[in-house]
Amino acid sequence: MKRLVLVIALVALLPGAMMYAQQPPPTMQEDFVPVSALPQAEQLPAAPLLIAAYAFVWVALMVYVWSLWRRMARLERDLADLQRRVPKP
């Protein structure tokens, strides 16, 4: 039954995929255009991208350090527990 549903879904998506593939490619820029002459929608501000990049670096490092700290705390607890339970020679 699951296989039948999967086949039906794929067949239903196929015409859509074929229509998308047959669409004409987007019109490309053919000559050099300075940034100041680009349409407004294409003039991206740099600051949000720069801030996002730096923020991601900080967040990634903080998350990693936090995960190290959490794993270490769990191991220290297990180690202390085992040291109590294992009889000393």
Binding site: Y54, F56, A60, V65, E76, L79
Partner: protein, 218 residues
């Protein structure tokens, strides 16, 4: 923990606190302007990714040929850091590319090979985590393969036609940019040493717990 850990931690904190000001004072690049300043975190992260891949590969070789458990723990620590710094490179790069090239991503030699390198070490971590007993040797072999890829990733921009800047960019930086760049590199190297030390210590504790479990079962 090593006596150098706390001084290095303080130094890394100071460098990272100062880094935004150093980067802000660096001159603007002529064609890319403000967005080029992503360079001061993107390139040092890539350098740490390559460095960690080498550390992982060399430690894995020592583990495979000399059966050194300590080397295996260093390899695992370094493998995780390849994935961390690689993720930073693969996120900051497209953010820069969107403005500089007009696209988030391009399947050119440098970007594609960097992504593959990252995926190799992600697979390394998955094998370590889910491979079961004896998977350390398979993972070690993967790490050697990953390490062998690093020179290809590095020279890909020189030998293939790519959008990515060539390796000569770093050596030909303007003086103001050069100082800020090497400042960032120094901060990242110290950070890398600290993270590797911490992560390796985690593995040492894990090994100690496993030994105690075995002793408890006996």
């Amino acid at each position: 923990m090593s006596r150098l850990f706390v001084p290095l931690l303080l130094l890394a904190t100071a460098l990272f606190a100062a880094a935004p000001f150093v980067v802000a004072n660096a001159p603007f690049e002529e064609t890319m302007g403000l967005v080029q300043k992503i360079f001061y975190y993107h390139v040092p992260s890539a350098m740490m990714m390559f460095l960690s891949a080498f550390v992982c590969g060399i430690a894995s070789a020592i583990f495979l040929f000399r059966r050194s458990a300590a080397a295996d723990r260093v390899a695992q620590a370094a493998g995780e850091l390849v994935v961390l710094f690689g993720l930073i490179v693969l996120v900051t790069g497209p953010l820069w590319a969107r403005k500089a090239w007009g696209v988030w991503w391009e399947w050119d030699a440098r970007l594609t090979s960097s992504l593959l390198l990252w995926m190799i070490f992600l697979a390394y971590l998955l094998v370590r985590r889910f491979g079961g007993p004896g998977s350390e040797k398979l993972a070690g072999a993967m790490a050697l393969f990953g390490m062998a890829n690093v020179p290809f990733v590095y020279v890909s921009v020189n030998y293939w036609r790519t959008l990515h800047p060539k390796t000569s960019v770093v050596m030909t930086l303007a003086p103001g940019m050069r100082a800020a760049f090497w400042f960032s590199v120094a901060a990242f190297v110290i950070l890398y040493v600290l993270l590797l030390t911490l992560r390796k210590r985690l593995e040492d504790r894990q090994a100690a717990v496993e030994q105690l479990y075995l002793a408890f079962e006996e």
